[in-house]
Amino acid sequence: MSNSYKNRTIRICRGTGCNSLNAGEIHETLTKLINEDNLSQFISIKLTGCHGFCQVGPTIMIEPDNVLYVNLKAKNVKDIVEQHLKRDEIVKELLYKDPKTGKSIKNMEEIQFFHEQYPIITKNCGKINPENIDEYIKEGGYNSIKKVLNGIEPIEVIEEIKKSKLRGRGGAGFSTGEKWDFCRKAQGSPKYLICNGDEGDPGAFMDRTILESDPHSVIEGMLIAAYAMGAEYGYIYIRAEYPLAIERFSIALNQAREAGYLGKKILNTDFNFEMELKKGAGAFVCGEETALMEAIMGKRGMPRPRPPYPATSGLWNKPTNINNVKTLATVPKIIEKGAEWYSSIGTEDASGTIVIALTGKINNSGLVEIPMGTTIKQLIYDVGGGIPNGKMFKGIQTGGPSGGCIPEKYLDTPLDYSHLTNLGSIMGSGGFIVLDEDTCMVELARYFISFTQNESCGKCAPCRIGTKRMLDILTKITEGEANLKDLTKLEKIANIVKKTSLCGLGQTAPNPVLTTLKYFMDEYKAHILKKSCPALLCKNLIQYNINEDICTGCGVCLNNCPAGAISGEEKKPHNIDLQSCIKCGICYSMCPYSAIIKENPKEELVIHE
């Protein structure tokens, strides 16, 4: 073999996002070509977790050139091998193009989506192979637990975490150090530690990404927490909808055990800790700590009143501490770099960073980590790259079904716990959904209530019955059947459910309704008084028509209409029979000429209040 090539490492993202866009095929093709061309002595291929920019997946990153290729298809792999790996020429067509300037960008850091971020707990995500403990150790992993076991007293660990002002990243934002302290002081043994990976909020995938991409950081965080509060046994509860996270975390657990980080006499000290993974079985309410403990004990996951708090009486009535995945993943970083460093990031109210799953009507959707206190505007327009297709921004839903909808006029609000609470929303665990002019806020409120109603465990009446009644009224509004009295009733029930429900699920379920009532009353009124849906989304209040000037009579709509409501001769404008149209929207999305129009019915309807 006469040829010699530059030594390179290719990092291929194998997160859930890229996998679903055929990263597996690209990985295989790459491996095959490199073997065929005898390049394997120069090129190594490394599987990694997700770096967050799922929008442009599948991606690969070539080092040390620091070049990111995006939106790959299997057929592109050959060009990369021939041009980049063999001839040292960058394949320009496969680089990321800035949507604003149209310029190709070679280095990951120069892409605006990454440029604005501040990765602390997602630092390893997309960089290391999550299925190999050595790569985590090479990045300084398990140094923090070594440091702690090497002479830091448990109480000092807790003081350090208190000093860092770390607040629980699961949503409630309680001081992590305080929480640990309660459990440490509690009487009873054994003590349990639980990591809550039951990320059930629709529109959130922060925990999934961390579990898939850097599982050892969570294990190390748990070790430090367990040492600090004197827990001997731990559980991680991961929802069943996350098969890859379960697989990768199981691998990580085995490797950590083999390497001596779990079990008896960890690192030759007197510290013992063992843990196991429990798979969730599909129940949103199990994200609530008391419900989650019931599920771990093999029961129906129903919450119970607090007190007693888990710190004094949790699993099998023993002292138990529950933390979110992100909270625990932050802990090793604080121990490594110190509380002062951590509390210098973010705001007075909330230190550190926030990991956000940014999705919905946004150009750059994906996982981002930004300092607390970044404004909503910066998040949407700098990191997120704005709203696609030139549409207008309407609002942002924070905190999933437990949070609220924030309208445009509050775009300059800094993201932290107190500011969001003041607006009637919550920080939640970090699922942020951007909404544009095509989103109907009433329908969105109905969607969230239908979700919480469905997930309500049924134990307490306000949540069980209240959410059902709210759903009835919201459905009536979206169908154009409601009157203004219903609106008053809706608000009244919402406030009762909020004040009287047993657990967090019911107490926060009305937030989407209350905030949309507060900020988008116009839309509710349009549905009720004008019987029209301004966003043209509510089926009962819109109709489809064909623009005869544009229709070419190609027949695509006619052939695909499930109701047989479309008629017309070939090559002549077609027509929709409004009586038989079921408003499924298939013609609208399939028409190659965009000749189908969606509109509010023309005839003036009788307005009755």
Partner: protein, 169 residues
């Protein structure tokens, strides 16, 4: 009707094969009652659903009433008491998918297959289920068919996918 669906195989004896499979699952969890959710998950993985006669068998082995096991199994949405189709189509209706048109996609699949979400076609080929979020929000709207994730769906895309599956059968 609702009751019938849980009772369809109550009176069938557990075959020796089923008994062996179940015993080995129970054994791997030390016959511990607190592991009931994990046990049911493995039973479902092995048999595709939770056959009622096996639940009754488990209740005898663990000395827990079958009512209690049913009460746990019905609480969690993951469990199914009916045989499911060869192709299980899971449609995500999480927030991100919802605002990007997931209801239209689900509606289209339901129309194409002539069944509603939660049902199985008579020929046991297709089942449809709707879930709240699969966590693939960046590529929404999303469907999962037998573990394979399909993202950035449009009606055209899902129509092609369904046609391919129908041809394959």
């Amino acid at each position: 009707m609702e009751a019938d669906k849980y009772n369809q195989d109550v009176f069938q004896d557990v075959s020796s094969n089923e008994k062996n499979e179940t015993d080995s699952i129970l054994k791997s969890y030390n016959h511990e009652k607190e592991n009931i959710i994990s046990i049911l998950q493995e039973i479902q993985e092995r048999f595709g659903y939770l056959p009622s006669n096996i639940i009754i068998y488990i209740s005898k082995q663990l000395k827990v009433s079958s009512a209690e096991i049913f009460s746990i199994a019905t609480f969690y949405s993951q469990f199914s008491f009916q045989k499911r189709g060869k192709y299980l189509i899971i449609c995500c209706d999480g927030t991100a998918c919802h605002v990007k048109g997931a209801p239209l996609i689900l509606n289209f699949i339901e129309n194409q297959l002539g069944i509603k979400s939660g049902e199985t076609t008579d020929d046991l080929l297709f089942s449809i289920e709707s879930v709240a979020c699969l966590g693939c929000c960046a590529i929404s709207p999303v469907c999962v068919i037998n573990g394979q994730i399909y993202g950035d769906l449009t009606i055209k895309k899902i129509s092609n996918i369904l046609q391919k599956l129908m041809k394959r059968t």
